[in-house]
Symmetry: C2
């Protein structure tokens, strides 16, 4: 899927919601815990209830890896299920990988070939040759950390650089945007930093932004959207716990649909306000 | 294992060698490819032939993940084998993880609880709350990327910061060294940057450094060791491909031992030169 394909999905679904599958074993309903593939069973129900409201799903690798190889089996089954049942979904591996060239190439194989993800999140610290191997895969994306939503984003990302009026995250944006194009690169920009989105948009007006931090992490959807949406959509907003763990009982998937519908409805209004879609 | 335990191992083995288990399926001998656990079978032979020459092994996660869940099974078997057969080995997950707090905690569980690694490599870009969850596990270490051995280390790590005479990697060292201590934090410093090791030692005189880039990536062991060794050892030098893939036939493990012995012998001389151990 290229940027245009993503934009078509946004218009069709009247949504730019990404649901984060941060599927924490300790928080799934007891009834699922004894299943052979508990995380997969949980995800399947969430996906069946929400697929028409979202453009993307984003499994967070840590929650699968905490169960080791068995967790990876649950992840592989989830990816396979989405690919078979809902082929239009944009699928993001939230893995925060990145290493020297020959190693990044192996990570790319893991997520783009062994599993059929569309995109992977990558940390920029190791520079160009750690990023480029991911860009060699056709129709696959890299989503680079620029400005994250956590308190620690102050430590290095906001550091001011010598000889420019630029902070590190701004240099990351301006430098790395030369390595790919808006059809294969996207940026993570935290929703707790809505005021910084204008700064980000100056540097990467055409790139999609992936915004975490709505919901449990506390950013405002309206603020983020007004600053982040561009004429080609250009925005995916993620919500994880606030949707998938809204209800702790075996009604979790039905309640997740209610929560996702609320977010989708607000997104629809914001897309209309921005004249990206028309009112029905 | 704490820093003192590592130092004891260095003195006992007269070595500070870490062998990187970058076990690339496409490079293992054909005879192993059809086994049920090919990466594990390869690793087991390497380990049996080299365990007395090394202080540490460092599986590189990407090579296991490129085979998905099955690759993780090979990794889990490798970790289990080392723990059972050679309990004194220091075991590093070269995973380059790091995410917001609740996610880093799940990664820590994956590598410190589900598997019994001693240490995990972590990227610093997301700051303090992405690093601290790893430090909450007793006797476990974080190995933070400071200055890497690849060309892309120039892109951001070497960037000069405003209001100080400091490059980003130097600020990463001085800032993060306050978050832990020399018993639970170590730094990755690339061997291709031997000239920078003096700079690194000014900022973190007491921390262990993990130096990749010897061998296939081309750094000089003597230069790195003279600049990096401190009176408590303070150095692990990694070699991966130059040892494990020195021979492509079913004699690979025997040849790996020859190569590892060469490196160990040079290290022994350097430890004697530095008066860390006595000549025999």
């Amino acid at each position: 899927m290229d940027a245009n394909g993503l934009f078509e999905q946004i218009k069709k679904k009247r949504s730019y919601l990404c649901i984060g599958l941060d599927t924490d074993y300790s928080r799934i309903p007891r009834i699922l815990m004894d299943k052979e593939y508990p995380l997969y069973e949980f995800n399947k129900q969430i996906i069946d209830q929400t697929h028409d409201l979202v453009v993307a799903y984003k499994p967070n690798l840590a929650f699968y890896e905490s169960m080791g190889a068995a967790g990876w089996v649950n992840l592989e089954l989830t990816v396979q299920y989405i690919r078979e049942q809902y082929p239009d979904i944009y699928l993001i591996a939230d893995a925060k990988r990145g290493d020297i060239g020959n190693t990044s190439k192996m990570y790319a194989r893991a997520f783009f070939q062994h599993m059929d993800f569309d995109a992977i999140t990558v940390a920029p610290y190791m520079g160009e040759d750690s990023v480029k191997p991911f860009l060699e895969f056709e129709n696959k994306w890299i989503i680079l950390l620029a400005l994250t939503s956590n308190p620690g984003s102050e430590d290095f990302q906001m550091t001011e650089l010598k000889g420019s009026n630029s902070k590190l995250f701004q240099t990351v944006l301006s430098t790395t945007s030369q390595w790919g194009n808006p059809d294969n690169m996207m940026y993570v920009v935290g929703a707790t930093q809505a005021s910084m989105l204008d700064e980000v948009r100056k540097l990467v007006p055409n790139h999609f932004l992936l915004v975490p931090g709505i919901g449990a992490q506390g950013g405002s959807l309206a603020d983020v959207s007004r600053a982040g949406l561009n004429e080609r959509g250009g925005l995916l907003v993620n919500s994880s716990r606030a949707i998938i763990f809204a209800d702790p009982t075996d009604q979790f998937a039905r309640v997740a649909r209610v929560k996702a519908t609320e977010v989708q409805a607000e997104m629809e209004q914001l897309l209309i306000e921005k004249r990206i879609i028309s009112a029905k």
